[in-house]
């Protein structure tokens, strides 16, 4: 038992050092921000939600994860921000193992913008108060307790509000907003974190196609302006192909396809090149 734990630890340390060497030989812009190797995860000891998933997400990428309900997509995001730890394999965020118990990782957790499927907004608070939550890890305990926010943070918040198109709605309570506006608030809160990466779990799944595209455009613009890496979970393959430059398809906990989208070209990284129609067909089958 102890020897198997030791071997697993040795493997993960070897994996980290190998990845660091690989990345040091390449330019900063292509450095990996998230790496997963042979990752399995489960909520109980019996059923595995993820099975042997390997992913490599480069900085600046718009990475989409697509799959049916219950395929393990949300679990992948939770593994990236340390809300869950894998039962097997290695997950690395900036060469650190994401875990809320890892003190080193906890220092950088505020740089991971996370938007859960439920958005996680405090509905009785104003839009501005919800957005300021993103800045709280940078503000001291006493100042934040009495809402004494620094001037530059307030200015930041208004800039972010403008960026997501919520100008003039800062004092509105969240429960008064529409579905699309609530999503914009969640995006703004994540952007207030000044994140290196944005993890968004099915942020547009409950919206009509017009509003969904509006919300996706907001993220796309923010990503370009702030040079963000985005990892987004989608139900809609068309939307994923439209906005992402790399798409992974998850089926029953396994990654069955990973493709790169470069303009009209779709490059498959696993099983050869497919046309867009073939990929859409493959997704439908999943």
């Amino acid at each position: 038992m102890i020897s198997s734990i030791f071997i697993a630890w040795l493997n993960s340390e070897f994996f980290i050092s190998t990845l660091k060497k690989q990345d040091s030989s390449s330019s900063i812009s292509t450095m990996s921000i998230v790496q997963m190797s042979g990752v399995s995860a489960s909520y109980d000891s019996k059923d595995r939600v993820l099975k042997d998933v390997t992913l490599n997400i480069h900085r600046g990428t718009n990475y989409a994860i697509v799959g049916a309900s219950g395929s393990g997509k949300s679990t992948l995001l939770k593994l990236m921000n340390g809300m869950m730890t894998p039962s097997n394999g290695v997950v690395l965020y900036n060469y650190q193992k994401p875990s809320l118990k890892n003190k080193e990782f906890k220092k950088s957790i505020s740089k991971i913008g996370y938007i859960p499927q439920t958005l996680g907004l405090v509905k009785n608070m104003s839009v501005m108060d919800n957005i300021m939550i993103g800045a709280l890890p940078r503000i001291s305990g006493v100042k934040s307790f009495f809402k004494m926010f620094p001037e530059d943070e307030i200015k930041n918040a208004y800039d972010v509000l403008k960026l997501v198109g919520l100008n003039g709605k800062s004092k509105r309570k969240v429960y008064m907003l529409s579905g699309g506006e609530k999503r914009r608030v969640a995006i703004a809160r994540a952007l207030m974190q000044k994140p290196d990466i944005l993890l968004a779990d099915e942020i547009v799944s409950e919206l009509d196609s017009v509003t969904a595209r509006e919300v996706m455009d907001v993220i796309h613009d923010a990503q370009k302006k702030l040079n963000l890496t985005a990892v987004m979970i989608h139900h809609d393959m068309n939307l994923a192909l439209e906005y992402a430059n790399r798409v992974a398809v998850i089926k029953e906990g396994e990654k069955i396809l990973e493709i790169g989208v470069e303009g009209e070209q779709i490059v498959d990284f696993q099983t050869g090149n497919f046309s867009q129609e073939e990929i859409l067909g493959m997704y439908d089958e999943s």
């Binding site: 996680g120 907004l121 405090v122 009785n124 305990g141």
Partner: protein, 279 residues
Amino acid sequence: MTFKQVISVKKRFWGCMMNPKNNLLIGAIVAVVVVMSYDVGVEPIAFFEGLPNLGIVAKEMTEFKSEHWGTAFWSMLETIEMAFIGTIAGVVISLPLSIFAARNLSSKFVYAPLRALLAATRTFPSILWAILFVIVVGLGPFAGILAITLYTIGFISKLQYESIEAIDFDPVEATTAIGLSKLQLIRYVIIPEAAPHLLSQILYMFDYNVRQTSILGIVGAGGIGFYIINYIKFFEYGKAAMFMLVVLAAVLAIDWISVKIRDKYIMKAEHGRQLKAIN
């Protein structure tokens, strides 16, 4: 309702009534109530024989002199002040206690003994605490305020830690993933999420405390109850009844204000709209 529906409802009603199991259960409950009533000395005849006495009280009420209205008003105001101070002091103390008593925020070693302590404060009604505080600080409203404060702490803390335990977990998970400290989590998520319940609980508690404070005067802890008990002792039932009517009027007024506050702040916060009747 059509004729067929009427027949169907009738059939169901008689089906239910003729069910031997139901009849046995109803019979058993009635038998228990009768036995217990005999045991504690319930005498319906005495009630009907004594009803004319209410007429005497009503006649005495008409003899209520205008000079007593001032006493009634000021003693009721004192009662409301005592209830208000006790409620606010109790709520202020119970808020941090409820955070430490919530199972989703504190460790077992903190919440278990604290909950036991809070349960102990709720065990006795405020009138018993008032007797204790009259011994400690002497006769007067201060003893009553202490009693109301202590009871409010036990009651509001329980309601609050239950509200905290039942809050929506999604914002907690989302903000934990951002890296908020526990203090920030409490300030920006837990308290705002539980706040609509808190306002409702404070209103309910104030309403309850006004009624409780009205009787604390019986043990010398101030308020309108002091006058009511003394009038009863000296068989001045008319005056006592008039003072009781003042209490009733004050409680109804407070209830009306509570409904207005609930509609304005709580219904909106919980449902994003005002309460509307179901047609």
